[in-house]
Symmetry: C3
Subunit: 344 residues, 3 copies
């Protein structure tokens, strides 16, 4: 499936091996040693490919699939072609993700410091680092083992980066302590000066931004996203939180672990976000608010009050999601032509 | 008009020549050989300049203009000063655009590979390419004729770029097949990893993103915009589609030809956008939706359902544009002080 | 308070000296020569630190603070610990900003042109400039004294930059006249081509963008923000206007002085913004509109009509802020379950 120019495939695996790796159950599989060579979509899969089907919506495609083996939940196993071996899994998409990573490990074997990189003599680099062309590393920076600093990325003075982290092309990082296995995608900005000042009749006075950006292990920060450093307290992104592209994180924001912050969302200064929070695309969160663990905010919503843990909310400003749905229905009714109006 | 430090003017043209090039009709023009030297606004134009007036709103300015010739529609020709030669055109702005491009062709004559650029020996470069200082081109990349890779831009391994395309300063491109005459503006990110994972109690599993970004001929992608590559299927931007700054295009999105996607709009994963669609500024489009040909979406609207071809819609979520206008009026009425309320 | 790896502290000051510098009044201070070594938050301050408390919300923290001296307004002075010296100031946060800048002047002493920078021989550089690794400066550029062009930043041909301005890492500037003491943060794009074209059945015609971006003195443009150049007229950002991250400024926009444009706001082409205007986060402003002096627009609002000076507005589209609050209340009521409904 994958274009071999861009993605290096690694190895092949028996059906039995794949089933075991994802904790799935073999079904309709007389030859579990059959070798699978690649992943593919249910429509495009050939006899040496594994595919997956997540739910009933795709059973039509499943019926005519030529896949060598299919991951699917038990309740649609009877919809597969008669001769198709199956791996039954209640989370077929998740299992497929693991298998795709097996075939395409996307390992980055580059190491060494390009001669055009600018590494300050006082910076420390761990074993197996890669520092690409034009990348810069400032004085006193401490870079862990296996870190990849890609072409034209800029790492500021005294920045600390943990093992296995990647700083993408043209990204820049300053005033930051960054954990292990973090991915900063191309063009992202971490640790830039926050937006703080005092205004009065005599003009603006900038508030010095004397905090740091703390990025914990396994965080990802999307392309062209921005994480300002704190103003005195730190800005903190918790472990394994995933941040999409073009997201703005203001100074002093604290985000817990395992959150998902979708594209173009923005979080204003000093907001506190709990663990496992989901902010959908283009959501805005006001400054100094608190969002509890597990909160989910619908796309384009505006959070202007703190939200208790576990709530699902939507709207501008946000209300409980069912209230939001009723708002939508009511406002839609207001917009209909009189001749189209339902009786109330 | 244009600051000669930044824009090189090229040539001069007779009034007759200009009229012919835009298919316009000369009127009130006893000396069609009069030479025009430059373009200008109706207010600033001197006797050797050509200007344009699009509609009645600008007739006051027209009346006192000193332009050497004016492009305008027939229905306001009688509002021009008596001695002013005219070129009658039903699309004066469009005609002016063509004439401005004639005077200011903005050709980029730079060629050659800067000695500080990093071009992998296995990359192929067509004739007349420019590779600027600090730019990088990865192994196996195939770069067409006349391509400009500007300073500090990064082109990844195996990327294919068609003739005449420009990759702006500090932009980065990977996992992508890019057509001819494409413009990727400074800081844009094309082909970056999509935002896809499976979540459960044991944590996140990232879905490998094994597709590509396909950018067809004549597309433009604005400054600091992001186009993620597909997850297995490809992300596709169709021919001559124009994407403004700070736009987010998620993985697997398919956009048709001739679309206009304005600043800060965002399109979530796997949405399908038809041909000639217009998304105004800050619009959000939800994942997996389908937007038909010719649809126009008002600024800041949120598309959460598929939209049939030809519709004009607005609102959050979107409704037909006239319903949206009625919604606005109704909600405004809800917000007025009681003492201000109109009778219904 | 500040991490000394990232922020160099400079000097120490007596309480009396600090009070004088901010025009504050000493109170409860038997030893005004006591030396203060650092700034800190009210919670973390030790005996050699100065902190501030802005209002009654923080009096609990004030009561248990160990600070050596505290800036506060007169009306809460009686809530400080008995032995704590005080500096009474009606603007304690502003005073603190000045004192923090005194302790942490964040001066950038770098000078000189890195040997990997690419400075066109025809460019002029003032005294004391810094041009970082991989930075490029085009032909005919005129760079003032003490300007810092950071690593991998790109300054285009003929660009003019005033004294003391900073162009951040990986930022790019073209077709622009930039004043003194301006800060362009990392990844910002200034002077890029505007989004203008004429569409008809035969396709798109691009309107040449022949204006400039004029950035007046003391302006700041946030990380990854974009300011397009004008199409013929110029795009102008007035003196001391502050622009946050990921903001989009379209072509021909004119912004007055002292404005505050928060994160992810967008201003469409040819809009005119007065002086001291505040646009909160994610606000959108339509094209060709006029926003008067001192207008304040609430977060995520959509401005689709011109706004008279001094108005506070909110909503989509914007209405006077009190109307917006009533709209919110009314729409919230529409969304409540019937069983929860208040009588009207």
């Amino acid at each position: 499936m994958a274009d071999k120019r861009f993605f290096a495939k690694s190895g092949s695996y028996s059906i039995a091996d794949l089933a075991e790796r994802v904790g799935g159950e073999l079904m309709n599989c007389p030859a579990p040693d059959t070798v699978i060579e690649d992943v593919a979509s249910v429509e495009e899969a050939a006899g040496s490919d594994i595919c997956f089907v997540e739910n009933r919506r795709y059973v039509a495609a499943l019926g005519s699939s030529k896949a060598g083996v299919c991951l699917l939940p038990r309740n649609i196993a009877d919809r597969a072609p008669e001769a198709m071996p199956l791996i039954v899994s209640e989370r077929p998409r998740r299992a497929f993700a693991k298998i795709a990573a097996l075939f395409y490990p996307q390992e980055d074997h580059r190491t060494g410091v390009d001669q055009s990189a600018h590494v300050d003599p006082s910076a420390e680099l761990g074993d197996g680092c890669f520092v690409g062309p034009g990348a810069t590393i400032g004085a006193g920076a401490k870079i862990g083992a296996g870190v990849k600093i890609c072409a034209n990325a800029c790492v500021g003075e005294a920045v600390v980066i943990g093992d296995g982290t990647v700083i993408g092309e043209n990204a820049s990082v300053s005033h930051a302590l960054i954990g292990a296995r973090v991915v900063i995608y191309p063009g992202a900005r971490v640790g830039t000066c926050g937006f703080g000042f005092e205004v009065d009749e005599s003009g603006l006075v900038k508030m010095p931004q004397l905090g740091r950006a703390i990025i914990e292990d396994d965080v990802e920060i999307g392309a062209n996203s921005c994480v300002d450093r704190g103003s005195g307290p730190d800005t903190v992104i918790g472990r394994a939180t995933m941040i999409d592209n073009l997201v703005q994180i203001g100074h002093n924001v604290q985000i817990g672990k395992g959150c998902i912050i979708c594209g173009q969302a923005g979080i204003a200064g000093s907001a506190r976000i709990g663990n496992y929070v989901v902010l959908a695309g283009q959501v805005g969160v006001g400054g100094h608010l608190e969002i509890g663990d597990g909160v989910q905010v619908a796309a384009m919503s505006g959070v202007s009050n703190s939200i208790a843990p576990g709530q699902k909310v939507g709207g501008m400003p946000t209300v409980p999601i069912n209230d939001f749905r009723r708002q939508i229905a009511a406002v839609k009714a207001l917009g209909r032509r009189k001749s189209d109006q339902e009786n109330k």
